[in-house]
Symmetry: C2
Subunit: 371 residues, 2 copies
Amino acid sequence: MSIPGAGRPLPGFYAVIPAGGAGTRLWPLSRAAHPKFLHDLTGTGRSLLQSTWDRLVPMTRSICVVTGAAHAGAVAEQLPALAAEDLFVEPSPRDSTAAIGLAAAVLVRRDPDAVIGSFAADHVIGDQQVFAAAVAEAVATARTGLLVTVGITPTYPATGFGYVCAGEQLDVPDAPSALRVTRFVEKPDAQTAAQYVAAGFRWNAGMFVVRAATLLDLLAEHQPALAAGLREIADAWAGPTREEVLERLWPTLTRIAIDYAVAEPAAAAGRVAVVPGEFGWDDIGDFNALAGLLPVGPDGVQVLGDAQSVLSPGGRAMVVSASGRLVALLGVEDLVVVDTPGALLVASRERAQDVKTIVDLVRARGRADLL
Amino acid sequence: MSIPGAGRPLPGFYAVIPAGGAGTRLWPLSRAAHPKFLHDLTGTGRSLLQSTWDRLVPMTRSICVVTGAAHAGAVAEQLPALAAEDLFVEPSPRDSTAAIGLAAAVLVRRDPDAVIGSFAADHVIGDQQVFAAAVAEAVATARTGLLVTVGITPTYPATGFGYVCAGEQLDVPDAPSALRVTRFVEKPDAQTAAQYVAAGFRWNAGMFVVRAATLLDLLAEHQPALAAGLREIADAWAGPTREEVLERLWPTLTRIAIDYAVAEPAAAAGRVAVVPGEFGWDDIGDFNALAGLLPVGPDGVQVLGDAQSVLSPGGRAMVVSASGRLVALLGVEDLVVVDTPGALLVASRERAQDVKTIVDLVRARGRADLL
């Protein structure tokens, strides 16, 4: 499904979708066996992964997905247009640097001038055209040899995201809004978040656009062992020894997030740019975020799933109706009710971000079948 | 199961257990197909019906149950000691006068001096010995030709029950606490309830003890058509025409509660006594009442059913865990969560008495399968 007017093909641009992460704070909707990115969380009829695919299709002829062995089948099923050679299956989770680095190392062998853009499989984007324009600027900027992030203009002083601090304008042709990044900062407390927003910092949404060759150079500089491992895997990728080499080397790769491995040291060296993102973005980090995306029904209730099975004469709640059962609410306020076949969660909205507490308890009870 | 020391056999005393009522305010735990009296609501391993039976067994060699055709099988299964001739099956619900009147009319033919005592199948009683002593006084009083009710000494100014107003002491041998009833009053508002409690009124718990012949006389006087119908049915009861007569006459019987049909007019005529009940009593009218009967677990949660399947790190709630699923609560306060295979109810404690609103909505949605 292409989105009319939401971008034009960008020659030499390769999209990479890392499809991982359990979405623990969306338990029991999101499970290890059926994580967040496989769900339609916005009621559009398309999963988050499919929506990510849909918005990238107009911009590139090549989209690859990096995912775990457990989810490769589901990813292929949800994305019938995904070429087999563009589905990169990780034998085990080794964090984002290994995932994106693998894609970069394989793609650079297909196209030495490849510019890759990494976009998480489980985020939502508001305005597709504005997003496409930002990506186009990021690609133009990446061609100058910089690592480029799309920094989301904050809509509130979030404490759940890291921030990007930008300095001088870069004056890249076709990228008028690109700025040099001076530093990345960690998730702040509320007071610091307010200062960051006032100072014009942007959210780090983990979107990176970069020449594959540049990324691999940065990796070789800052994580030489990891870079060497990825190089050896990529050399074997198209040949008969892929499985053997992957099985031997993948478990040895350093587990590190790409922000720490590459983005922060590169920023310190003045080699990172940011293109502001004004398109509306959410990582649906918890049920409060999910509630923010769902329309409020006539009875004051927001339902994801089967709205016909939810009865609520008065009261305010967000309901995930995923078990086929009738869900009746009476006199409740600001509640999250997640009704799935194996488990039920009832939480106050204000505690939605603490769902991990429950997940830890479920694990402690030995109920791995419910994780 | 007899309860040691909880009473002695009272010669000529016949217990009648009307087992009816859907327990709508306990939906979705209590259903038309599996009503309140068939449930173990106190976690003792015995249903309310079985507990009612258990506490009457020491006092009488004859207990009969009056129930609807839909529940006759379940009643017989739960009460293996119930004789077939003591299971009275109503073809359709005709309210309490028809139910108790049928038992009286049949029992008086077995024993013209029978004293019957009617005790609902879905109430809980605290102190069994005090209860037995009150019933013994009521039986002694009933032998003098009065209709006797056991009036519960209020523990709070309830608005959910009718009240009994008593006058002079009766000086019946073996019934030192029996008083003459001056009138029955309807469920009061909160202010009136406080006045009733201050004036020493007692709750009308619907427990009536009376000579069967006296009850039939009162019925003949105040509801002559109903009395005539019951007489004809009882005449045919032990013979081959029972089904034919029952099928023809039962649907014609007046639907009326025994309080209105008999107790109120008899009280006006000075023919009703009350024996105070100080044994602790509850009709488990809603989930708040049920919560009052359940112990509070170490995590602040009260669970009926499978406590192992309930996780609640902090928070206060009453949970009915009846679906086999994991129920996780996070940051909730004063909530009622009723988790059954077909339906889930999440209600605030303060709205527990309005569960009927939901039941009406379920009916309006055409989901009779869930009622």
